[in-house]
């Protein structure tokens, strides 16, 4: 019986060990399922529940009358789910019989389909037409796994009219993400669009809205089993611009292929009624993702359609700067309006001869005559009397040399030079010739068309009017920008306005030929020509000063600033025509635009001087044909 006892003793020992181990398993079970249950339950929930973002509807952009500038248009695409399609090739073959499929896109989609899970929908055709979509829908039974889907995509019904103002949206890029310290998760949604330039970019946060979210249950490979709950997002805020769609559209057509910019501003409250840069481009192309060729055409065009010339380009203001010089002199009390200066056609300063544009000279010039006929020597004289500091100070008060706060891209500060600036930037000291050049808006002075309009509005009102582009956000009107009184002597301003009136309405004025004939809307303005090149001594000797003899890109810029009506100023206009050859390129545009703005429609021919009426009539008819059909777009006005 010894053997039996051995078995039983060892057996018991082993049995005890086994039971002990079973106990250990029980304890482990208890530890995991009771003590750590909450933690594991949480992990299981994290596994199971996915948060999916619901992209918010982007806010719309309207003009001041409620016409749509930027909207969310339905965009159709065709998607396919591999596992539902069964025989993918056969379904694709049937589909391509109905809808034209892009070869490259199709191959890309098929490759993507191979890589991703079989239950994920893959886009096989994007931005398809409504006809194609309905054909697919009708033939749905023959196309298993194929679904027509509708999404929202940004659309700009005004085409290129507002390209530089509203800007455009595009898919989020790595660079966009890098700009945010902590990018919102919604930005990581594929194909999510954000503002790239213009108002779309500057008001991005407001327009975007807030993403909603839904919680879905997913399985281990990510297939959505069911939706658990959802929280709707908040749509983005709607914006209303101060710009008038009709006027903006008119200006676009009026400028045609000219490389030019026009700003129309309401002098009473700073509203930018139009802010147009020509030539322009179609922002819708950028939303879709512009092709390399299309982009190259825009980029290589020497009239720079991509540049927003009204705010981002700064030009020497030329003679349009003369109001600044004269106001500085009046303000400093160094001259009186009746004082005359003799213009022999040039002036010697510091051993250098500064020419007047009129070789033979103007003779005796007082304030009004000098501005009317744009005599340069008069201003050289003022410059020597008043000095650059006072001129710069006055320029700043009139809104030059500062960046105005409007939500467009790359708003320039321009340049109002000072002695300190020259020493810092150029490393040489200020010479008196610099002051002389600055007095007629040449040399270092640079202003943007927007700044010129602001300057004109401030001269017309005497108040610190600032430009305003956003009229209201989500129905809440933003405050008026009529501004405080600038503190200039009202008499001084009156003299200057009177002189500007003479520019347009005196027989000897530089803009007399492009005057407004309607008494109620008389215009006061100032012409300007800004040199792109220096006239060399050789050229002067040869007499090559006519712009017509030069290649386009070396011709002078033509400028004109004006306000109207003279008696009760309502609008300020600034026009810059690049390489227009002189101010005569700008003045007719300014008159047409001013009349269009004042009448709010095509002006009657009576508003023009008699001899212009025939030509204007033809022009109006031509533009009416070229402009966007008003019915189609304006019916959407609120």
């Amino acid at each position: 019986m010894d053997s039996y006892r051995r078995v039983s003793r060892r057996g018991l020992i082993l049995g005890g060990m086994q039971l002990g181990f079973a106990g250990l398993l029980g304890l482990r079970m208890r530890y995991m399922q009771v003590d750590q249950a909450d933690q594991f339950r949480l992990l299981a929930e994290e596994n199971r529940v996915n948060i999916r973002l619901i992209p918010p509807a982007r806010g719309q952009i309207f003009d001041r009358n409620g016409a749509v500038i930027a909207e969310n248009a339905p965009s159709y695409r065709i998607t396919m789910v591999r596992e539902d399609a069964g025989n993918v090739e056969e379904v694709i073959a049937r589909l391509s019989a109905l809808v034209e499929l892009d070869e490259d896109e199709l191959n890309r989609a098929l490759a993507e389909m191979e890589r991703s899970a079989p239950f994920l929908p893959i886009t096989i055709a994007d931005r398809v037409g409504w006809d194609d979509i309905s054909r697919v829908a009708v033939n749905a039974p023959a196309l298993p796994g194929v679904t027509p889907e509708v999404g929202l995509s940004r659309h700009y019904p005004m085409g290129d009219d507002f390209a530089h103002v509203a800007g455009y949206v595009g898919p989020v890029s790595e660079r966009d993400l890098a700009r945010y310290a902590d990018p919102e998760p919604v930005l990581r949604i594929p194909r999510f669009q954000i503002g790239k330039v213009g108002v779309e970019a500057k008001y991005e946060e407001m327009l975007r809205g807030r993403a909603g979210a839904k919680r879905v249950e997913v399985n281990a490979v990510g297939r959505v089993m069911r939706e658990l709950d959802r929280r709707e997002g908040e749509a983005g805020a709607d914006l209303q611009l101060t710009v008038d769609n009709g006027l903006q559209n008119y200006i676009k057509a009026r400028l045609g292929t000219e490389s030019a910019s026009v700003v129309v501003m309401d002098v009473t409250d700073g509203d930018l009624l139009a802010i147009s840069s020509s030539p322009s481009y179609d922002p819708n192309k950028f939303v879709r993702g512009i092709s390399f060729d299309d982009y190259a055409v825009l980029r290589d065009n020497d009239r720079r359609p991509l540049a927003s010339k009204t705010v981002q380009d700064a030009y020497p203001p030329g003679s349009t700067f003369k109001m600044v010089t004269v106001l500085a002199a009046l303000d400093a009390g160094v001259i009186s309006p009746e004082e005359t200066v003799w213009c022999p056609g040039y002036m010697e300063v510091g051993g250098r001869r500064f020419h007047c544009w009129k070789g033979g000279g103007h003779g005796h010039m007082d304030l009004e005559k000098s501005l009317r006929e744009s005599c340069d020597v008069y201003y050289y004289d003022l410059a020597l009397k008043v000095g650059i500091e006072k001129i710069t100070d006055t320029a700043l008060r009139l809104g030059l040399g500062m960046s105005h706060d409007i939500p467009m891209s790359a708003v320039t500060e321009g340049l109002t030079p000072t002695k300190a600036w020259k020493e810092r930037e150029r490393g040489s000291s200020w010479v008196i010739g610099d002051t002389v050049n600055a007095s007629i808006g040449q040399g270092f002075v640079l202003t943007s068309p927007l700044q010129l309009a602001v300057m004109t509005a401030r001269l017309a009102t005497g108040r610190a009017v600032t430009p305003r582009l956003i009229k209201s956000v989500e129905g809440r009107t933003s405050p008026s920008h009529s501004g405080e009184n600038l503190g200039f002597n009202e008499n001084h301003l009156r003299w200057i306005r009177k002189a500007m009136f003479a520019v347009s309405n005196n027989r000897r004025g530089t803009a007399y030929r492009t005057r407004i004939a309607e008494d109620a809307f008389r215009m006061a303005g100032k012409t300007g020509t800004s040199q792109v090149r220096n006239i060399t001594a050789a050229e002067r000797a040869r007499g090559v000063t006519s712009n017509d003899d030069l290649p386009w890109n070396r011709r002078d810029h033509g400028l004109f600033v004006a306000f109207a009506p003279y008696d009760a100023p309502k609008i300020a206009v600034s026009v810059v025509v690049e390489h227009g050859g002189g101010s005569s390129a700008a003045t007719p545009i300014a008159r047409d635009v001013a009349l269009q703005a004042l009448y709010g429609r095509d002006p009657p021919l009576d508003a023009y001087p008699k001899k212009d009426r025939g030509r204007i009539k033809t022009q109006q008819e031509r533009l009416a044909r070229e402009r966007r059909a008003p019915d189609g777009e304006e019916s959407s006005r609120a």
Binding site: R10, F21, R28, M29, V34, F40, R48
Partner: protein, 379 residues
């Protein structure tokens, strides 16, 4: 004492034997298997196909086999032990040469109605053969070196063949079961001390061998060990399985998430949910109460074996019952340790619960022999 000394007249004969079957054990086994059916039904998403129904049929077959084996006198099985062992070795060699490769290992022979896994069979035939060996060996020779070397070879031969497949889980089971059989049989303590010391050295050698030309384990086996030591090193690869398994288990809590409500298994986060990791589904859906109940059932089966062996004065019977109990214990202990993150994932099924034909049939036949030993015990 040998079977010739039985007081044969007190042993039941003929169909009367059925009454002497140990019905509580049969009931326990059925209960365990039923838990398996329930879970297989659940992981199939509330369906008898593809797992629950075949499993039930196999259990019915296994149950009949158990009864038939139980009715045959135990001494017949003792005489068959050597043959059974040799057959299983031959099958192992055969599967090595002609077997079907599945899951990266040569494991089964397709015999028409089912796939036979010789390695499963070996788990029992080894125990049988060792029990017969120690029954035959005079007690005084038990601890003599030569007589210790022989059973060692008996154990190592199938272990080596199984390891070649490669099936680490079964190899560990074989070597542990064999070693413990020798322990029960009364081999001197000294040997076990030496073996344990050698094993420690061998484990060190295995780890030392990694990356060398004489590497002792396959790469995937090393990775499994790495993953076991720190699942987070490979959260989306092999570590993913064990992490998800633990989440399933832990999220069950006291009472579980409810029948067919386990998100980890229903949403496929749980790997191998119908075989090796079926316990996690049970633990997720029925919680600690469900999991612990199954453990209790297993322990009751184990206790039956221990008490039955203690009562049985026949040395072969006693060793065989303890051996079967031991094998059964190793199955569930290794599986549970593995799915609870206490041991590396080595691919050992949960006995009578995991989906699988060979393991279930072999275990039921083994319990048939336990029943036979119980019925034909000397009184």
């Amino acid at each position: 004492m040998s079977y010739l000394e039985y007081t044969v007249k007190s042993v039941p004969t003929g169909l009367r034997k059925v009454l002497y079957l140990n019905w509580p054990l049969a009931l326990l086994l059925t209960a365990v298997a039923s838990i398996g059916f329930l879970m297989l039904y659940s992981v199939a998403g509330g369906s008898f196909t593809p797992w629950a129904e075949p499993q039930m049929k196999r259990f019915a077959l296994g149950f009949v086999a158990m009864c038939l084996v139980a009715l045959v006198p135990i001494w017949f099985w003792r005489n068959m032990a050597t043959l059974a062992y040799l057959v299983s070795i031959l099958l192992l060699v055969f599967v090595e040469l002609f077997g079907t490769v599945g899951m990266g290992a040569q494991r089964w022979i397709d015999i028409g109605f089912m796939r036979l896994q010789p390695s499963e069979l070996t788990k029992i035939t080894l125990v049988m053969f060792l029990a017969a060996y120690y029954d035959w060996l005079p007690m005084r020779n038990t601890s003599r070196p030569l007589w210790v070397l022989l059973p060692l070879l008996i154990i190592l031969l199938p272990t080596f063949l199984v390891l070649k497949q490669p099936d680490l889980g079964t190899a560990i089971l074989l070597i542990t079961a064999g070693g413990l059989m020798m322990f029960i049989a009364g081999v001197h303590w000294i040997y076990f001390g030496v073996v344990l010391a050698l094993a420690g050295g061998a484990i060190a050698a295995v780890f030392q061998s990694r990356g060398t030309s004489w590497q002792l384990l396959q790469d995937y086996q090393f990775r499994r060990i790495d993953t076991f030591i720190d699942p987070s090193t490979d959260p989306l690869g092999a570590g993913y399985h064990i992490t998800q398994a633990k989440i399933a288990m832990g999220s069950g809590g006291w009472t579980g998430r409810g029948f067919m409500q386990g998100t980890q298994s229903r949403l496929n986060f749980l790997p191998e949910k119908h075989t090796d990791f079926i316990f996690n589904t049970l633990a997720e859906e029925f919680g600690f109460i469900g999991g612990f109940s199954l453990l209790i059932l297993y322990v009751l089966v184990l206790l039956f074996c221990i008490f039955s062996a203690m009562q049985n004065r026949d040395r072969f019977s006693s060793l065989l019952i303890l051996g079967v109990g031991l094998t059964f214990f190793l199955f569930f202990a290794v599986n549970m340790s593995m799915v609870m993150g206490l041991a590396p994932v080595v691919g050992v099924p949960l006995p009578l619960v995991s989906y699988g034909g060979s393991a279930m049939l072999v275990l039921m036949v083994a319990f048939g022999m336990v029943q036979s030993a119980h019925i034909h015990r000397p009184r």
